[in-house]
């Protein structure tokens, strides 16, 4: 640290100077914070104020600076000094805006501000500017697995933006499910008629593209490495093996139609009952002529049974809606009507789901004479000559039936997502404990893998729900749990061709971003651009494997010596590994056990006779900390006894911080994380949940210390909880008051 020079800058604007004793803060920064340079400025974020800092960096050799002003979420652009390490002491939103007005609060307000200055100075002492890790040899090639419409679209989208693509397709031809279609639904005005599918044209474009290398009859036999350096073994059906190196992966492995044979009550498996794919086959065979059944009879009447084996609450079939099937049946009904208006085509639906301009397509089909019946099919009987559909007519409110030459069951999409990792983990655990059946099952599972990742967490992408490899986030549909690997098309979510085209294009962009980020050593979403990465002091490692197990992104493997092996390019910089590590050997350059621990220690703990408790808040920087900020912006007041520290994720909270805090005389610790459970809000998957779990284990420690369990409080706080968070703090301060101050004061 020979070249380091530390400076603190205190802003006196926005009322800070009017409310606080700034000379005292300066003195603290200098004396206690050990800042070489301490300056205050009436308007630090102004051009003039920023120049003051820039000049000190340039002329005074300042390398580390603590800005004591507003929240780290405010004036970010003004206070961006890329060459320097920066900490922020939040005197505005965190102190003067939240401590009640009035002279009687002057003392506690000032103490709070002083502590934040101490904390900011302590933190900066432990921070380094992340150097980043630019990789010269990083691959920017994109691997697309699956050669259907989604895969081809993704490949072409990336290639057209200048990126090389390797496309692996299991079958002998490009096109996928689209090859089975006679026509597709319309994508553009006037949304009136079924359109040519265009799969062959797309396939020709892909095959002929200079930037795309297509492997047919091939599968991915093994994937290792990380974004920017995935080593992929492509196995040809013929037995050949090709090695490739790719920067990112798009999985576009599509779907399999739900098997109609599982719907015997709806005639599934009977000759004159087909699924939508079966009808496409009949239409293709007819090639524009009259559509005939398997027995050669020309179809003069047809009934489409919607939601067959879908939207099923019984647990037997698919619980979800596949979204496309209403429009698909409408399209298929027009196959008949466009050729012969005399054919009776009935669509039997419960809710007709054709959003957006699909409404026009619906109208167009009605205009062509397709009949729509709101009804619930109870039974389909194939009598050989005609099929009988028994159904409840929901409008006429009666049980009735209808006869037709052919019945089409609109069954759903089942994703081809590969291995379910929950099953995988259970199987591996069982296998490792010697269960022979589990060992066999593990091998079977591996055969069904799509990506064959050699990640510790399993060979495929984690599935979100019902087997779809989707993101958990509404705002971020491509927020993957396997960095640099993106699902696209119906494997991500049930969807139609139009949406799959959008989805594949979007996924291609994310893959491009992934290779660019990997090459520059930058984190991917949500800490995008973060150049820090975790480093472990392996000499202290006990090989407990907690970091490898708990990493939500599968970023950490184990090396031959069973030490954790960090794959920086897979890492999302949440710090969960840091929170997990019992021996505290994992750290980031600018975020570590020390950067937080030193802040905790820097707080001045008054002795018990002063009757001023100290409560530590560890707040998730994405939800809880902004909520605290907004409480300030709204001038909601809360107890001046709290000291809040933002953390990257509650998962990064190492319990040592809590025990250290309690040991050194804090009276309580509040952990504020985001919602956990099925609808979790944590962008690092289980951070909040793990923190709750870990702190639940602290009780024993507390007992040893002779402390009440209430001294540690874990909370879910949403970003909108500004009023609630103020109340939570005040209630907790009150509770601490009732329990009494910590007996640990003075020992720390």
């Amino acid at each position: 640290m020979a070249d380091s020079k530390f400076a603190a800058y205190i802003c006196t604007g926005c009322g800070i100077g009017d409310t606080l004793d700034v000379p005292m803060l300066e003195k603290i920064a200098q004396k206690e914070g050990k800042m070489a340079l301490v300056k205050s400025h009436p308007f630090l974020c102004s051009t003039d104020g920023v120049k003051l800092i820039e000049d000190d960096i340039a002329n005074e050799g300042v390398t580390h600076l603590c800005i004591a002003a507003c929240s780290r979420r405010a004036k970010v652009e003004a206070f961006r000094f890329p060459a320097a390490a920066v900490s922020r002491a939040n005197l505005r939103e965190g102190v003067i805006w939240v401590v009640a007005e009035g002279a009687e609060h002057d003392a506690v307000r000032q103490e709070m501000a002083e502590d934040y200055v101490r904390m900011g100075c302590a933190e900066i002492k432990k921070m380094k500017v992340p150097a980043g890790n630019v990789k010269e040899a990083s691959s920017k090639k994109i691997l697309v697995v699956g050669g259907g419409l989604s895969g081809m679209t993704a490949a072409l989208a990336a290639a057209e933006a200048g990126y090389a693509v390797t496309l692996v397709e299991k079958s002998g031809a490009l096109g996928g499910f689209a090859n089975n279609l006679w026509k597709r639904v319309p994508f553009a005005a006037p949304y009136a008629d079924a359109q040519p599918v265009g799969a062959a044209e797309l396939a020709a474009k892909v095959s002929g593209h200079a930037k795309i290398k297509v492997h047919l009859n091939a599968v991915v036999a093994e994937t290792s490495g990380a974004p920017g350096r995935f080593a992929v073994k492509i196995a040809q059906e013929s037995g050949g093996m090709t090695d490739d190196v790719c920067g990112a992966i798009i999985q576009a492995t599509g779907f399999t139609p739900y098997d109609p044979a599982r719907l015997p009550e709806l005639g599934g498996g009977q000759p004159n009952v087909v699924d939508q794919a079966g009808l496409e086959a009949l239409a293709k065979a007819a090639d524009g002529g009259p559509i005939k059944r398997a027995d050669g009879k020309e179809v003069k009447s047809v009934v489409f049974v919607q939601c067959a084996g879908q939207r099923d609450a019984s647990g037997q079939h698919l619980p979800y809606c596949s979204g496309h099937c209403c429009a698909t049946s409408i399209k298929q009904a027009t196959y008949f009507k466009d050729r012969d208006a005399g054919i009776n085509a009935v669509v039997m639906y419960q809710d007709l789901r054709v959003p957006g301009m699909g409404e026009d397509f619906y109208r167009s089909a009605q205009d062509k004479g397709v009949t729509f019946v709101k009804g619930r099919a109870a039974r389909v009987t194939d009598g050989g000559g005609a099929c009988k559909v028994d159904f409840k007519d929901l409008i006429l409110d009666e049980d009735t039936s209808i006869e037709a030459d052919l019945v089409v069951l609109a069954t759903g999409q089942v994703p081809n997502a590969g291995v379910n990792l929950d099953e995988w983990t259970a199987t591996v655990t069982a296998a490792e404990s010697g269960d022979e059946a589990a060992k066999t099952r593990k091998d079977e599972l591996l055969k069904t893998s799509v990506l064959s990742l050699n990640y510790r967490q399993g060979p495929d992408m984690p599935q979100f729900k019902y087997g779809f490899a989707d993101s958990h986030f509404i705002c971020f549909p491509y927020e993957t749990r396997r960095t640099g690997i993106y699902a696209a098309g119906p494997v991500r979510r049930p969807m139609d061709i139009l949406q799959a085209t959008e989805d594949a294009t979007g996924a291609a962009l994310k893959a491009i971003q992934a290779v660019e980020n990997a090459a520059r050593g930058r984190a991917a979403h949500p800490r995008v651009g973060d150049l820090s990465y975790p480093v472990a002091r392996l000499e202290g490692c006990t090989q407990c494997k907690r970091c490898t197990v708990e990493c939500p992104f599968g970023a950490i493997d184990e090396d031959e010596k069973r030490f954790p092996k960090f794959n920086e390019e897979r890492c999302r910089r949440c710090g969960t590994c840091m929170g997990a590590c019992p021996v505290r050997v994992i750290s980031f350059e600018n975020y570590s056990v020390d950067t937080v621990g030193s802040q905790i220690k820097a707080v001045n703990i008054p002795d018990e006779f002063e009757e001023k408790p100290r409560i530590l808040i560890l707040a998730c920087e994405n939800d809880a900390y902004p909520a605290l900020d907004m409480a300030g912006i709204q001038r909601l007041s809360y107890s001046a006894f709290v000291r809040a520290i933002p953390v990257r994720c509650l998962g990064s909270v190492n319990t040592i911080w809590i025990t250290d805090a309690l040991n050194s005389g804090y009276d309580g610790v509040m952990l504020m994380g985001c919602k956990k459970g099925d609808d979790y809000q944590c962008h690092f998957v289980k951070g909040s949940e793990m923190a709750f779990y870990r702190t639940s284990k602290i009780d024993d420690t507390l007992k040893q210390l002779g402390l009440e369990p209430e001294r540690v409080l874990s909370l879910e706080v949403a970003i909108t909880d500004n009023a609630r968070v103020a109340k939570l703090i005040n209630d907790y301060a009150e509770q601490i008051n009732e329990i009494g101050l910590s007996p640990m004061k003075g020992f720390g």
Partner: protein, 428 residues
């Protein structure tokens, strides 16, 4: 914000809602230069005015916070608020764009300290609450506003109040002499992420919006349910301020209707299902929600949410397009008249409050767009003839948030392709 000069390598994104922010950020994070132009004084668009998202019931500002952090950390994006595109000329790879910026009367010096707001007493309808309440004429548009800067409403410019606001500002941030500015920029590709606006409910005359106080729109109801909204999250009736417990939701208010909007707006079914849970949140078991619908369009795994709401005993479903709403003058209750078409049962149901699930109108409806732009029959942007401009999000199709982001991500890559191909051509 960087002061980079726009070139044909720049992507212009019009609209700073979630789709526009996504399109801009995705391109910027691929290393591209982007200008993001937003009409309002802040980014976030419609989603910032929602209380919760379906089906997770999470808060939209959570995603906004992440996107804003991405934005603050990325010098590739230049944000222009209060700015509209007034003209586009040129062609794919080489557009010239004229942008008009309205005066904010507050410059970059603003620290959002709030002194100007304290100095002013004039109030204006609060745009962040669809005008359901008032705010000071010197205001921060939203708790999460980006830029985090106050706005002086033009109504107090040139008045003593304006001068008071100026005098109160210690940062010298208020400039009452600010004028409308017009700039001309180059862009290689343009993404139109101009979003949507709620259909004018007053046009659906039989529902009495504007005539019957206790008939509100779904977007207004979002604000009423939000603790940060005009009623502090209480579901209070506009007529008398009483708590509403028995609430009707009318689907397809404007949508799927050739007298109004031809298209299905897609989000409204899910939005109403979500809003029934606001009623539950506010009233518990005492709440009563009734959804009047034609088809419930809860697509893909949203079906789960539909099923869970169906299992909620406080929620009732009636398959019926409500014919008309009458007012019971005594109670202020709207009376819904119609027929449940499942078996033809006539009803005249009184409710405390009626929420119209209003449809999505493309924001560009009625706006002069470049001739090159292709619109569908409802004015959604299909693309452009020359292929250099793209629709994204709900400007392109009535989409929910997730699909808007998907669409915007795709549009972002299409814009990058144009830039890439332009650069390759220029290099040759």
């Amino acid at each position: 914000m960087s002061a980079s000069i726009a070139t044909s390598q720049t992507i212009l994104v019009v609209g700073g809602g979630i789709a526009g922010m996504t399109a801009a950020l995705e391109a910027a994070e691929c290393g591209r230069q982007v200008i993001l132009a937003e009409k309002q004084p802040m980014l976030g668009g419609r989603t910032a005015l929602l209380y919760r998202y379906f089906p997770k019931m999470c808060h939209p500002v959570c995603g906004l916070e992440i996107n804003l952090r991405r934005l603050r950390g990325n010098p590739n994006v230049r944000v222009m608020t209060m700015t509209e595109v007034t003209a586009v000329s040129g062609r794919r790879g080489d557009y010239t764009v004229t942008l008009k910026t309205r005066p904010r009367y507050v410059n970059e010096n603003c620290t959002a300290c709030g002194d100007c707001g304290n100095a002013v007493s004039t109030t204006i309808p609060n745009p962040a609450n669809y005008g359901l309440d008032k705010i000071k004429a010197a205001y921060l548009p939203h708790g999460m506003a980006y830029p985090q800067r106050y706005v002086i409403d033009p109504s107090i410019v040139g008045t003593a109040e304006g001068e008071q606001a100026k005098a109160a500002c210690k940062a010298g941030a208020i400039d009452l002499g600010m004028q409308e500015e017009t700039v001309t920029l180059k862009a290689g590709s343009i993404v139109w992420a101009t979003g949507w606006r709620p259909y004018d409910a007053a046009k659906i005359q039989p529902y009495g919006y504007g005539r019957i106080a206790n008939v509100v729109t779904s977007v207004e109801f979002e604000r009423m349910a939000d603790p940060h909204g005009p009623t502090g999250g209480k579901l209070l009736r506009p007529s008398d301020g009483q708590e509403a417990k028995n609430i009707a939701f009318i689907q397809c208010a404007g949508s799927r209707d050739e007298n109004h909007l031809r298209h299905c707006s897609r989000i409204c079914c899910m939005a109403s299902l979500k809003q029934t849970q606001y009623v539950r949140e506010a009233c518990g078991e005492d709440g009563r929600s009734t959804i009047y619908y034609i088809d419930i369009r809860a697509i893909d795994r949203f079906e789960d949410f539909y099923q869970s709401v169906q299992n909620d005993p406080t929620v009732r479903f009636i398959k019926s397009k409500v014919a008309r709403i009458a007012l019971d003058e005594q109670s202020g209750n709207p009376i819904l008249h119609g027929v449940d078409t499942e078996g033809a049962h006539r009803y005249a149901n009184a409710h405390d409050l009626v929420v119209l699930a209003v449809g999505m109108v493309p924001e560009v409806t009625g706006v002069a767009l470049p001739e090159d732009i292709l619109l569908d029959s409802s004015n959604f942007i299909e693309g452009s003839q020359s292929g250099g401009m793209f629709g994204a999000g709900s400007a392109a199709s009535p989409l929910d948030v997730n699909r808007s982001v998907q669409s915007a991500t795709a549009a972002s890559l299409r814009a990058i392709q144009v830039i890439h191909q332009t650069a390759s051509t220029e290099a040759v």
